[in-house]
């Protein structure tokens, strides 16, 4: 009986050690970056289904076009699906990505820079974004639970002259 128990404990320890080995922060960072890059590539080709396919039911979302947060997979699907075929990003760079891993949560943050070719062959930056993408392991899969997109250092419209004068 005692030997059986020890053997069982041994199996449990081995299983745990294997699971832990699979989950180093470095491995997770690699998986998360690959997931995000794949979604971005599809997005840049006018296909929102990459992002939509990684989002969890509980997904929450901020972007600069919105008065308030979008909550839930159904609502974000209704928001993003009509953009199919309307987005085209010629080239992008994920600048300085950071992945902070805590248990089954991986917090990715980076700057996204989008480029467009000019008639003279040079490239022009069309947009710069601050991006926070929070992934959680749900049912063994990394799912996106929150996105926050904002413009990097946006140039704001000056306040109205009338207001300025007061």
């Amino acid at each position: 009986m005692r030997i059986l128990l020890l053997a069982l404990l041994g199996v449990v320890f081995l299983a745990c050690a294997t699971a832990c080995a699979e989950d180093t922060a470095e491995d997770v960072a690699g998986q998360i970056l690959a997931l995000e890059r794949a979604s971005l590539e599809r997005w840049g080709n006018g296909d929102p289904e990459g992002y939509l396919g990684t989002m969890a039911e509980e997904f929450t979302y901020f972007d600069p076009s919105l008065e308030k947060r979008i909550d839930g997979l159904k609502a974000i699907t209704e928001f993003l699906r009509p953009l199919k075929g309307k987005i085209h990003i010629e080239r992008f760079e994920m600048v300085n990505p950071s992945v902070q891993v805590h248990d089954d949560v991986a917090l990715l943050s980076y700057n996204l820079v989008e480029f467009e070719k000019q008639p003279d062959g040079s490239e022009k930056v069309t947009s710069r974004w601050n991006s926070t993408e929070v992934y959680a392991k749900i049912g063994g899969e990394w799912k996106l639970i929150h996105s926050h997109w904002s413009m990097t250092k946006p140039e704001l419209k000056p306040p109205d002259a009338a207001e300025e004068g007061n």
Copy 2:
């Protein structure tokens, strides 16, 4: 021996059950909202030490004034500490806060609306923010590991007339 083992298992289960009971998502949400509100109140009174005191070493930060992310407690301290006494928010509201809890991570998102009293006694909205605040339990304490602040639906400066004409 077997009885001792069973008793030990019982103690372990009880300890686990107690720990789990302490960590319901609802309780965590309450703790996180209280932490954030306390930091915001100090911030609105010109005191950045509330936020600084909750931040983890690994803290990362986006806001609209920055060309790129601020990484680490030392860098954010150098950025926020000089603002001491320079911020004054008369009144704020945390609108529609959501706390998504996964293991030892709590992801808070909300809209912050800031108000100022006008000479006629009415209140004017001075700023609207989208806020993502990611907390992780580190050494038994909830610490802020990431903040992303952006303006809600900012009004952008129109592109230059010269560019528009082309």
